[in-house]
Amino acid sequence: MLEGLLNLLPAELAARIRSLPANVLDRLEEIRVRRDRPLEVCHAGGFAFVTADGALSADPADGWRPDAELCARLLERITDHSLYAMEEELRRGYVTVPGGHRIGLAGRTVLEGGAVRGLRDIGAFNIRIARDVRGAARRLLPHIADRAGRSLLSTLIVAPPQQGKTTLLRDIIRAVSYGDWPMPEARGWPGRKVGVVDERSEIAACVRGVPVFDVGPRTDVLDACPKAEGMMMLLRSMSPELLAADEIGRPEDADAIREAAHAGVPVIATAHARDLEDARGRSAIRRLIDEGVFAAVVELRRIGAEVLFRVRPAPAAREPTRQAGGAGAC
């Protein structure tokens, strides 16, 4: 997976990443390229600068500094030589490359009537490495299972960035789609049709409409589609038994999730927030929680390489929620 990404990077940059120690490469999370400033890598929670001969250093002064020419080449390669086709991506500030890796961009914004129209003079890249961890959701699934419906409860997964939300969501989708339920009482539960709205192409990492990650045999992916519209489209067209979406938060997302919940389709969604209380600070999510659309809220916290989760019954769930909870490692 990493090799595919490295082939996409300019040779000088890729060579320096390749020469990093193997234990760092295995746990590499972000490669941060900033024009004329030291190259940085983040791995398993820590960070370090990369020197010109591909060693790690804590001192930024030792770091190798990518120049303007390298940044221009990097941008050309990650946009597939087609910056003109990336207007929407530039407006949102990131590009997703084959393999599901997301590359965040920063530079000078171009405004039109006060709204951001795009980016130019791009001088900072955050290359986030997508990881596919099979079995990441095994410990969580029993806590969010809907035993009566032989499916999952509507669940909101909240965590700050970089805690493994998308990885967990992908594994939930895969498990439900395969019917790979980890609980003993769930033997004989069928796999479910899963509809995924993959606005950022991160969950399934589709290349020309075909998922790169294994998201299960019964999963339909609407790639690069706005979440709210996508969920309605899937509801109407693909008759999903479970809907999944990444990083909700806009009012229209909330409307679509409400619609799905009333149609009897459980929704698994993720959102950026520290915990349940923090999530309630965002008005669209607060309304969803208060209306009892979500039956459970999962908080993720990562300590080192281990992901801990806590399941909390949503405060105003429509149906009585069991005393779920406890912490577990997944």
Partner: protein, 171 residues
Amino acid sequence: MLKLAGAILVLLSGTLIGFRQAARYAERTAQIRQMLHVLQRLETEIGFGHTPLPDALERAAAGAAEPVAAIFRRTAARLRAGGAAVREALRAAVDESWSRTAMREPERTAIVRLGDALGISDREDQIRHLRLASAQLAAEEAGARDEQARYGKMWRSLGFMAALLVVILML
């Protein structure tokens, strides 16, 4: 008898050389025209289709005849192989294929200059650059057509006349 055969051979080859030269003028006009069509298709792919550049180049090349199509096909292949920037890929493809075309330096300059801008800016800018290159090529095409009318005919008769002169001198 032998003299007659020799004279016929000289006449024949002289005429052929003349026709060949005349054909080069016609080819240049035709190839510039092909190039213009490719740029127009590229403009559609980029402006309306939002097609990624390697695909756009291939599709644009698919409608053109050789050897013009080869330039764009090879550029796309280089981009797909990875490593090269558009500028380098197009320049290399032009270097490889140019000798097989009948086009001259001004056309080459226009295409190579287009390569400096292709793919690295927003849609309006891309369209502007494509139109600029098209305008330059169109001007060259007008010149080429002029030359074709003037020198094409001349070469055709010149070849035969020169051969005839050689034959008369030999007799």
